[in-house]
Amino acid sequence: MSENTTTRRSRTHVSCTVNGDQVDFLADDGTSLLDALRDELDLTGAKEGCGTGDCGACTVLVDGRINCSCLMFAPEAEGCDIVTVEGIAEGDHLHPLQQTFLEGAALQCGVCTPGFLVSAKALLDENPDPTETEIRYALAGNLCRCTGYDKIVRSVQEAAVQLRGAAR
């Protein structure tokens, strides 16, 4: 049980794994995980597009599952394994999704891209051969206003093909 009883600005010490690294930070108890990642750890890949869980720009993996980091209080991350867009490449090798997004022109302004990449990775980790409809519903929590989703969906399809090929 963790509890903090400081009066004015109650700050909790949080220990977790972020992109494979053990990290420790102090966060106000009411701070979102998103703000902690951005302001304490300078990982600004995840964005705040709405702050209410409606746009998915802040999507990160928490213990392998996608979450809106804007809805999560930073102390909730204690002991968790967090992966942000900064952590999905393997060293200097882009994840196949990153590569197909680039080749398929799946980004225009790019502000929603980190959230889409994390959501799409979670989808393909669980379902290596999704239908177009499954992709569209799996990404419905991520808003993109530039692309009309066409090239995003196609890039996810292409990455799925590549990943299945690599797994064979």
């Binding site: 882009l94 206003r145 009309g148 066409d150």
Partner: protein, 740 residues
């Protein structure tokens, strides 16, 4: 698919390289407006009006100023009072209310504090005494006899009158003899339409950091569609010298017209000046929806006359735009948008009317979608009345080079006919309509603009190049600049680094609007490259020991008879000895932006028990002139279409009687999600624009113009009842079905 007229063979133009800025964006390194923090920065927050229209009697900031963490407070009294007639007076009033709050959400005070929470708490502690004034919320209310004034400051533009008025603009257009044409017509269709306020819906909220130093100079970090405009508007609103302000462009997370004006920077500058600290302000989504850029709601009446063989002989009508709380050119711009058909007789009036709602902002082809929705719906009804194919009817009447625009001048070479033919011949249009579905056709265009741009091209010692422009990249324009430079210089596109530089590092460049970046800034890049090539040839002549006239530039190398080709890197390596650095700056005020036409086709099914519309299939054909990077041309077509589908089906501002927006979130302001849409098939039509070295037409905006009518025409054909009110949300469609 691309349909192209004969043109020169290009090596780079028309290819699809990975965009230069893409890597940073897929690994999370790209820095958008909210992604930078200045050392020692404070956080700003606003107090906004809860009233739709209210005189501000007094503001008491005393309690707020002594709250924890508070370092500065500003109100309207801190801003200079710009004279009526100053073009940025309204910009300044919109970002900080002076005598009156003009809409719910209008900023009345701002606070800078150590944390955002402290700033918000202090802003909430500011006390304002208001005297409530009558609220004007619709075109009808605004134009009613004896209507209260939405903004007593307003004068009708171009009217010569100094009387306060709710009218922003009144633009009549007339040619031919409309009365006689309607008298002689075989078929006449007349209908009234209305459309709701909609938002651009960019995912990145407005944000900036401003640091005003002890010397009074401001360092501004912000995302916008034009950092030179951020500079000029900030300078104008504060009555500062432009040279005091440096604006560095952040990556921009979507704009669609909504980031062609400013909301934050002058406030942050004054807070920074008062506190002596950098100040960061980031809007919430709620603030974005309540207080920035909706596109005007509209109301219209359109009547069109036709002969039995499908000649459209006359149009008359009226289109009104609810422009929000300050003067705006929406009505005037709308008048340019009825130029797709020959219409020998035309009598139209376009009006902009003020309302106590947020100051409207440009939204992708501003004013054209509302007009196209009405006109293209009536044309579809005429096709039904004549039992004529909707594309054949349009082909009979489509404008070609030399036909009149609505403003009177002749059209240049345009590709409307080619786009109609592309859809007519497409697999989609030739396929049978799926069981239970119906098909709709709609068209639209945007005239595009040129304006001022600058570009500097630097050749580096090793033969690589840097292309520096002042146009923020809102959808892949850096890649386009690099492609055009690669074509001119004859080097690999990835040996070129395209850069968007700050206001002190590149020449003046107008805001990215009117689909002008690839067209106009691209022309500046091409001009700079061509001048560089001349210089390269002269240097090569020196190196090779031949006459200047003996050198040709072929595929990235100087070629002279009896000499080995001298590649660019061989010349740059010897720059020092042949005259110094190889750099050229070009600037221009571009003319000849060619209009871009589009034709859309969609299949829909309507659930006749719930009124829900599903878009099954969608195809768009658009004239790009020449697609420099086809992937991003397709992206513009698809993105505009998706926004149009949202506008057609579900997006709308819902206000209560006091002008409070009830759906200020992405939960209830319903932009399309991935599962709402089908793939959006694209056909790029290339009818080169003769005014551009590569034939470019701006492509960014046209895509949003046709979808509302395209879908309405499909839904109307599916249900047998004409849908004339946007959005076509399920309750409205069900109500229309009941009236069948």
């Amino acid at each position: 698919m691309t349909i192209t007229e004969d043109r020169p063979a290009y090596k780079w133009v028309g290819t699809r390289p990975i965009r230069h800025d893409g890597y940073d964006k897929v690994v999370g390194k790209a820095r958008f407006a909210a992604d930078r923090n200045f050392p020692g920065q404070l956080h700003g927050a606003f107090l906004r009006s809860p009233h739709g229209h209210a005189r501000i009697l007094a503001i008491d900031t005393a309690a707020a100023e002594v709250m924890p963490g508070v370092k500065a407070v500003v109100t309207g009294a801190d801003f200079p009072d710009l004279p009526v007639g100053n073009p940025e007076r309204d910009t300044g009033i919109n970002l900080m209310a002076r005598d009156a709050a003009l809409y719910v959400g209008h900023v009345v005070a701002a606070v800078a504090a150590s944390t955002r929470a402290e700033a918000e708490a202090a802003a909430a502690a500011i006390e304002v005494r208001y005297e409530l004034l009558p609220v004007v919320l619709s075109i009808d209310e605004s134009m009613a006899d004896g209507a209260p004034l939405a903004n007593p400051d307003n004068r009708t533009a171009f009217s010569g009158s100094d009387d306060p008025s709710n009218l922003a603009t009144v633009t009549p257009l007339e040619r031919g003899d409309v009365d006689a044409a309607f008298e002689a017509a075989d078929v006449v269709v007349e209908r009234e339409f209305d459309t709701a306020w909609v938002h651009q819906g960019y995912i990145e909220p407005h944000a900036c950091v401003v640091d005003v130093g002890p010397d009074g100079r401001a360092d501004v970090w912000a995302s916008s569609q034009g950092h030179f405009r951020v500079r000029s508007q900030t300078a104008a609103v504060l009555d500062w010298d432009t040279a005091r302000i440096k604006v560095t462009p952040a990556e921009i997370g979507g704009g669609f017209g909504g980031k062609t004006t400013i909301y934050l920077e002058p406030v942050a500058a004054l807070l920074s000046e008062k506190s002596g600290r950098p100040v960061k302000i980031v809007m919430t989504r709620d603030e974005v929806l309540r207080a920035t850029g909706p596109a005007p709601a509209s109301k219209s009446r359109i009547r069109i006359a036709a002969t039995n063989d499908g000649e459209l002989t006359a149009i008359d009508g009226w289109i009104g735009y609810a422009v929000g709380c300050t003067n705006d050119m929406a009505g005037f711009v709308g008048a340019m948008s009825v130029a797709s058909y020959k219409f020998p007789n035309l009598k139209m009036e376009f009006v902009g009317a003020l309302t106590n709602t947020p100051r409207s902002a440009a939204y992708r082809a501003p004013s054209a979608p509302q007009a196209a929705f009405a006109i293209e719906s009536v044309i579809d009804e005429i096709a039904q009345a004549l039992d004529m194919d909707p594309i054949e009817l349009r082909l009979k009447n489509a404008v070609v080079e030399g036909d009149l625009t609505s403003m009177g001048g002749p059209h240049p070479r345009v590709g409307f006919v080619e786009c109609l033919e592309a859809i007519r011949d497409s697999e989609h249009y030739r396929s049978s309509v799926p069981e239970g579905a119906a098909r709709g056709i709609g068209t639209g265009f945007w005239f595009n603009i040129g304006e001022q741009s600058s570009a500097t091209v630097n050749l580096n010692e090793d033969g690589t190049a840097t292309v520096i422009t002042g146009s923020p990249d809102i959808g892949g324009s850096r890649a386009s600049m690099a492609l055009m430079a690669a074509e001119e210089l004859g080097i690999d596109v990835h040996r070129i680094t395209p850069v968007v530089a700050d206001t002190e590092s590149v020449g003046f460049t107008d805001v990215t609007e009117g689909s002008r970046a690839t067209f106009a800034t691209g022309m500046a890049v091409v001009n700079a490259c061509r001048e560089l090539v001349e210089e390269l040839k002269a240097r090569a002549a020196t190196i090779l020991g031949v006459g200047a006239d003996a050198v040709e530039w072929v595929d990235g190398a100087a070629v002279a008879a009896d000499k080995d080709p001298l590649p660019l890197a061989g010349i740059t390596a010897k720059a020092k000895g042949t005259g110094g650095p190889l750099t050229v700056t070009a600037s221009l005020n571009a003319g000849g932006a060619g209009p871009s036409f589009a034709v859309h086709c969609c299949d829909v099914v309507v659930d006749d028990e719930t009124g829900r519309v599903e878009v099954l299939r969608y195809t768009t054909a658009q004239d790009a002139g020449t697609a420099i990077h086809p992937s991003y041309v397709e992206g513009q077509m698809q993105g505009g279409t998706a926004q149009g589908i949202g506008w057609a089906l579900n997006e709308e501002y819902v206000y209560d009687d006091d002008g409070t927006m009830l759906n200020a979130s992405f939960l209830d302001y319903r932009v399309p999600v991935a599962s709402d849409l089908p793939m959006i098939e694209t056909i790029i039509v290339e009818v080169p624009n003769p005014a551009h070295p590569y034939g470019v037409r701006g492509v960014g905006e046209t895509g949003i113009v046709p979808p509302m009518a395209t879908i309405a025409n499909a839904v109307s054909r599916a249900t047998g009842v004409r849908l004339s009110s946007l959005p076509m949300s399920p309750p409205k469609v069900l109500a229309a079905l009941d009236e069948r």
